[in-house]
Amino acid sequence: MDDARGGWPMSEVAPHWISESLRACIRDPKVAAGGGFILFLLILALGAPDFAPKDPLEQDLILGVTPPPGFAGAEPGYLLGTDDLGRDVLSRLIWGSRVALTVAFVAATLAAALGATLGLLAGWYRGWVDATISRLVEIWMAFPPVLLSILLVAVVGPGVGSVIGAIAIIDWTRFCRVIRAETMGQAKTDYVTAARAIGFSPMRILVREILPNVMPVLIALISLEMGIAVIVEAILSFVGLSVSSDVPTWGGMIAQGRQILHQGWWVLAAPLVALFLTVLAFNLLGEGLRRSLDPVMRR
């Protein structure tokens, strides 16, 4: 491999530069740590029925508020203790990751789709399209996001669907602003001019020429947004506006743990730590992706 430009044998198919930079990403410690934790959590959530040692809803009032092993009064088989109704905290934590990750993935993807679409349109057409969308973004960002989401969910009614909808409707602005700026830069490039001379319609140019080039930024933003979505979901669960109370959620567990903090601190600590680590992982992943996919570093 003495080819200075490539690095792969000349006869082989050259890797796509995106897959090339993805390979570089995995070598980034932030991406490896964040992505690794998210992957672990994802496997745990998908296999919750197998991994959870107990039924997360099974109550055992005699074993209420049992501490984790190593503390006085611990019971064998309850690795993170039990809550005031005698339910296994670890099992509830594992099942709760399902809601957290579902909301994170779906809400972030929807917010990205909405925001990126509007951002592409604003950045390409400029003029009144841009003015309308940009004013909308500014008005949107002036609302306190958590209050707005509580309001939205209160109006539509609780449930995972409305939590996801609320997050997407509030957070599309983050994507819109960045993608709009990226699109403006892309619109000035020579290859977009060449595509116009071939007779590409604006839609074709946006999808075929510009979108592949803004994809790395979009991916990094989606990862950061997932961390935000996990927190918003926890907040809405905390105030009882997420899924119904018989489905374990981290936010619901925090709300419950807060009430019995003096009898059993672990009921509050376990979901808090899980939430903290998950958001940290998403942020590390997004930060790492943003750094290793940076357009300036592409060349």
């Binding site: 430009r5 490539g6 000349m10 006869s11 198919v13 050259a14 796509h16 530069w17 995106i18 400029r126 490039t189 020579d190 290859y191 001019t193 060449a194 595509a195 116009r196 001379a197 071939i198 007779g199 590409f200 319609s201 074709r204 075929r208 020429e209 592949p212 080039n213 994809m215 592409r298 060349r299």
Partner: protein, 289 residues
């Protein structure tokens, strides 16, 4: 004599921002199979004319009068949909900088066959066959590998060959070459010029060749139109204009060229008086300042 492929008549344009004139009554004709050089210093309006021919004038430039007739049809009067098709099929662009004119995120194969797939509805197999034939025509070795490559894996000269191949993909009747050799080093420049010349005569294509290099003009152009501040200063056959320039500005420009056969002659800048006269002339001709 057959009617010209391209005929600009009295084309005028202003900047939308400060209403400054960009083109002033520009007229020129390009006959079938002929290469017409569009020469001028920066800001003379060469690129604006190229963009007007390709239907991609930026929104900040407004055409105030005149016609851009391609095979008898005024491009300025055609609706955007049919215009995209007409220009896409019949007029092609060879861009200035091969380093930025290819999309970094798309493979060469896709970019080379954009036009044929869009306007002729070629399927993947036919597009591939066409792409291989085109690369062969521009003398690229190992075309299979190049088709699978991304632009950053090719050298500047290779990329310019790919762009020339792409320009000829639809057998266009007119090619606008926007300073296609400016970004290349001199040895590659020579090869690329010869390639464009050969391709052009093989396909019978007319070429509008935008450049600021009079040496390039001497090598490739049949006719030359010299622009200054959006106005045609002198036009005529290349040999006549280079040998017996009529306008003082043309003469000054030719004298300002470095001569390799007389290195001791030094460089002669264009005299201030010539430029002053030009501006005086522009003022007289009633053009809005």
């Amino acid at each position: 004599m057959s009617p010209p492929v391209l005929a600009l008549s009295n084309l005028s344009a202003i900047s939308d921002r400060d209403r400054a004139p960009i083109l002033r009554n520009v007229s020129l004709e390009v006959a079938r199979g002929e290469t017409c050089g569009l020469v001028g210093e920066s800001g003379a309006g060469k690129s604006t004319i190229a963009k007007a021919i390709l239907g991609i004038l930026p929104r900040t430039i407004r055409v105030t009068g005149g016609e851009v007739k391609f095979e008898g049809a005024d491009l300025l009067k055609i609706e955007i949909g049919p215009l995209r098709r007409l220009i896409g099929e019949c007029i092609a662009l060879i861009p200035q900088d091969p380093m930025t004119a290819l999309n970094p995120a798309r493979r060469i194969e896709a970019q080379l066959t954009d036009g044929p797939r869009l306007w002729r509805g070629l399927d993947a197999t036919a597009a591939r066959a066409l792409a291989l034939r085109l690369l062969d025509e521009v003398h690229i070795r190992d075309p299979d590998r190049v088709l699978r490559s991304f632009p950053h894996e090719l050298s500047g000269g290779m990329r310019q060959r790919v762009l020339i191949a792409a320009a000829f993909a639809l057998e266009p009747r007119l090619i606008v070459a926007d300073e296609p050799t400016t970004a290349l080093d001199v040895t590659v420049q020579k090869q690329i010029l010869r390639l464009i010349r050969n391709m052009q005569s093989a396909h019978g294509t007319s070429v509008v060749f935008v450049t600021h290099d009079l040496g390039v003009v001497a090598q490739i152009c049949d006719h030359v139109t010299l622009l200054f501040a959006g106005r045609v200063i002198e036009a005529g056959s290349a040999s006549r204009l280079l040998d017996r320039p009529a306008h003082p500005y043309t003469r000054a420009l030719l004298e300002a060229c470095p001569r390799y056969d007389r290195p001791d002659a030094g460089l002669r800048p264009i005299p201030e008086s010539v430029i002053a006269d030009l501006y005086a002339e522009l003022g007289q001709s009633g053009a809005t300042p």
